[in-house]
Symmetry: C2
Subunit: 237 residues, 2 copies
C-alpha cells in the first residue's frame, strides 16, 4: 500500500505525529504537499472539493487506496495495525487511541500558550495573555499531562506507553518532549527530572535507526516560529 | 450490559454528548457521580487510583464490564454499535468518529470564548481577551465548522450526518446547536439561516420520543454558567 499524507508543507505541526509513524513503520508514502506547487494544489483541491462525500475538515489527512482519513489521532489509529505500531488486541488498540487523544488535547494547550486570544492576531498583539497562559500551562497543565504519561509508562512496566513494544503513542510522546525542549528550553530542563521514564522513552525513540535516519534527513522539517511549538524568550522565563 | 457513566454531576459539559447517546439508545446506565456523595467519591477513587493500569486522564469515562473508556469521542465510538447509533460498516464508523473528533475540536473553541487566557482565572479577569476571541470565533470558526457540518449533511442526502439513520454524530450536532443558542442567543439567531439542514436536523432530534422525554426529565442538567456554554450579554453583542 502506498500512502499519501496531506499536510502543510512548511511546518511539523500535527502532521509530524503521522510522519513519525510512517517513518518508523517503514511505510511507502508520499508527503504530497511537499512536492512543490502541484502537491499543494492537489491538497487544496481535495480540501475544497465540491463532490467528495466525505471531505476532511482540515489537514492532516491520509489517502490509502479509496480511504481518506482525517484527524491526527484517527489517522494513527488507522495506520497503527498495518505499520505494526499498535497492540494486537482490540482493548489495547482502544487504549492506545485514548492516550493519543489525550496527546491531542495537550497539543491544543501547547499551541495556545503563544496564541491564547486568537489565531488571527500576531503573537506580539497578545503577549500579556500569552504570558499568563504560559504560566498556568507550566504550573498546572504540564505537571498533570506529563505526570499522567509518566505514570502510564510506569504502570506498563517502564519502557513503553502501551503493551510490550513500540507504538505510535511512544513516537508522539517523543515529539511532545522534542517540541517542549524547543519552545521552552529552560523550563523543560528544570521539569524533566520529574518525568524520568518519559525522558528515557524519548531518548530510546531518538536512537531507533529509522527515526535517527529520518531526523537527520531533509524529510524532517525543522522547528520554526510557525508551528505548534514556538520559542519566545519571555515565555521561557 | 449495564453501563456506568462517570462525569461531573452538576454540568452538562462533555458528558452530555455521552448522556444523549445513552438516552437515545435506550441503554441501561447509571450516571454514577450524580448519585450523591458516594457516587462522586467513586469517580474520584477511579481517577486517582494508584493501581488501575489504564487510568483515565479525566472525566467523562465509561465503565462497561471490565472496560474503562475515556475521551468523549472514543466513548461514542465504543457505544455506537451496541446502541445502534453508528453505521454498520467499518468505513462508516471511522467516518462518524472523524466527524465526532471535529465536534470535539469545536467544543474547545466554544469553551475558550469565555476562558481564552486561563481556566484558573475568572471570566471577569479575562473579559477583553474573551471579547476578542468571541469576535473571531463568530467571524471565522462558526462559519467554517457549522458550514462544514451543513455540507456533510447535504452530501449525505440532507437528513443525517452519516448513513441512512440517526447516529451519535446527529445527537452531538443537536447539542452544539442547543448550546450555541444558550450562550449566544442573538448571534445564533442571525446565523441559523446559513445552516438550514443543521437546524432541521436539530429540530428532528429534539422531537425524537426518547430525547424529548430526556430533555424534560431531571436527568437533563440545565445549562448554567459552569459548563462549556455560558451566557455573557457582552459576548453576544
Amino acid at each position: 500500500m502506498r500512502y499519501e499524507l496531506y499536510y502543510w508543507p512548511s511546518i511539523q505541526g500535527r502532521g509530524e505525529f503521522v510522519r513519525l509513524a510512517l517513518e518508523e513503520g517503514g511505510a511507502d508514502y508520499v508527503d504530497v504537499a511537499r512536492r512543490g506547487k502541484r502537491g499543494m494544489s492537489a491538497m487544496m483541491k481535495l480540501l475544497e472539493s465540491k463532490q467528495l462525500a466525505r471531505r476532511p475538515y482540515a489537514p492532516p489527512f491520509l489517502k490509502a487506496g479509496q480511504d481518506i482519513i482525517a484527524q491526527t489521532a484517527l489517522i494513527l489509529f488507522y495506520l497503527g495495525p498495518p505499520l505494526k505500531l499498535a497492540p494486537r488486541d482490540q482493548a489495547g488498540r482502544l487504549w492506545a487511541h485514548q492516550l493519543q487523544l489525550t496527546v491531542s488535547d495537550l497539543v491544543v494547550h501547547i499551541h495556545d500558550t503563544h496564541h491564547p486570544v486568537s489565531g488571527w492576531l500576531y503573537y506580539e498583539e497578545q503577549k500579556p495573555a500569552a504570558k499568563r497562559r504560559t504560566a498556568d500551562f507550566w504550573r498546572y497543565r504540564v505537571p498533570k499531562f506529563l505526570g499522567y504519561f509518566e505514570q502510564v509508562i510506569k504502570r506498563n512496566g517502564g519502557r513503553y506507553a502501551v503493551g510490550r513494544s513500540l507504538t505510535y503513542v511512544d513516537l508522539s510522546l517523543f515529539q511532545i518532549v522534542e517540541g517542549l525542549r524547543y519552545a521552552f528550553p529552560k523550563r523543560m530542563k528544570r521539569f524533566e527530572r520529574k518525568v524520568p521514564l518519559l525522558i528515557a522513552l524519548h531518548d530510546r525513540v531518538a536512537q531507533r535507526p529509522r527515526i535517527k535516519a529520518y531526523l537527520s534527513s531533509d524529510r524532517r522539517i525543522p522547528f520554526s516560529q510557525w508551528g505548534i511549538y514556538r520559542y519566545f524568550k519571555e515565555l521561557d522565563a
